[in-house]
Amino acid sequence: MNKIKTIDQAMEYIRDGMTVMIGGFMGIGTPELLIDAMIEKGVKDLTIIANDSGLPDRGVGRLIVNKQVKRIIASHIGLNPETGRQMNSGELIVDLVPQGTLAEQIRAGGAGIGGFLTETGIGTEIEEGKQKIQVNDKIYLLELPMKADVALIRASVIDKLGNVYYRGATRNFNPLIATAADIVIAAAEQVVEVGGIDPSDVMTPGIFVDMIVEGEK
């Protein structure tokens, strides 16, 4: 099973209207190669799930500037003024989610957890529309799992089976989204042979990765 694909082969799996999770934190750890290709393909009406909306010229932000996104679920949109502008003008739906809750919702989606209880957001607008559950005199919000059609991750090093090693702080949401989508596409900075990553150093097991595209910078 050869997981190495051309960018065009990978793009066949990203279509208008899909829900796409994208790794990265303020653009660091985001697969820019796949953003480039999505812009070139012009895929539209996307729902994006990501930590943040990037910068106007970096990461997820470029898809927003190019008006390919109809909705974004993220914890922070402050570094991309265009996100706020489109939100205020009604062009874009923005769902703001506390960062820890967002990470845990994606993990839950990938790990088959039906929901989890958290104190984060109690007493704030985040409560709206959510079940509250009492356990031993404490009130929690029930937060539900998140999944996506496609997840786009950025691998610092990947072997041909799809085992991933993320350098430094590029890890962030990447290992989480890799578990929570029907199709997982990795943009790779470096591809190595099977056996080139020590089994103890693997951060995303290859069983989660469907496709590898080379050429990420």
């Binding site: 943040d52 993220a74 506390p98 994606i106 984060t120 989480l176």
Partner: protein, 219 residues
């Protein structure tokens, strides 16, 4: 006092709240400045919510590693003994009570320890990022901010902006005062040498209890 001097004073005072061995998360902006004033004999471990403990100083130009950035997306370094992890582990640390102290900025704080820091509806909506999880999860929440904004009080009877967290703030440090959130209300613990109680009360909307052990703030 100019803004820079005020912020330096606040950061310096906040640094004195940190204890040797503490795990600390510093918000973006003024809170980040606190790192510059931590005494040499106090070793704290800085957590960066984008995925590591052991945050070090800003690198020399030319020595930046593009893969090592802080929660503001800025190039940083890590110290020896640092550890990287993913975002679910990072917020497990935060939510699980393993951060001793978080120091954050604020737009408004009120008598109940409520905090508004993440949005001004219709104007500025950056999002809460990790702030809601941090203030819910950290053992101690310190708010650092200038006492007023264009003359308007930021310490209120009741927050007017959407809350970032309800009843989670422990301590407020401004250029004028150190105020503790107690179950009886806001207690003025320290006053800056260049102000008066009358001035503080005038620039504070909330009711303030003058602590019996009121001290002069070291600046």
């Amino acid at each position: 006092m100019d803004d820079t001097t005020a912020k330096q004073r606040i950061a310096k005072r906040a640094a004195r709240e940190l204890n040797d061995g503490d795990v600390v998360n510093l918000g973006i902006g003024l809170p980040t400045m606190v790192a510059n004033y931590i005494p040499d004999d106090v070793h704290v471990i800085l957590q960066s919510e984008n995925g590591f403990v052991g945050l070090g100083p800003v690198p020399e130009p030319g020595c930046e590693d593009k893969d090592i950035v802080n929660a503001g997306g800025k190039c940083v370094t890590v110290k020896q003994g640092a550890a990287f992890f993913d975002s679910s582990v990072s917020f497990g640390i935060i939510r699980g009570g393993h951060v001793d102290t978080t120091i954050l900025g604020a737009l408004e704080v009120d008598e109940k320890g409520n905090l508004a820091s993440h949005m001004v509806p219709g104007k500025m909506v950056p999002g809460m990022g990790g702030a809601m999880d941090l203030v819910s999860g950290a053992k101690k929440v310190i708010i650092t901010m200038t006492h007023t904004s264009k003359g308007a009080p930021k310490i209120l009877k009741k927050c007017t902006l959407p809350l970032t967290a309800a009843g989670q703030v422990n301590l407020i440090i401004t250029e004028l005062a150190v105020i503790e959130v107690t179950k009886d209300g806001l207690a003025l613990k320290e006053i800056a040498p260049d102000t008066t109680i009358a001035d503080i009360l005038k620039s504070t909307d909330a009711d303030v209890i003058i602590s019996e052990e009121l001290k002069v703030m070291e600046v």
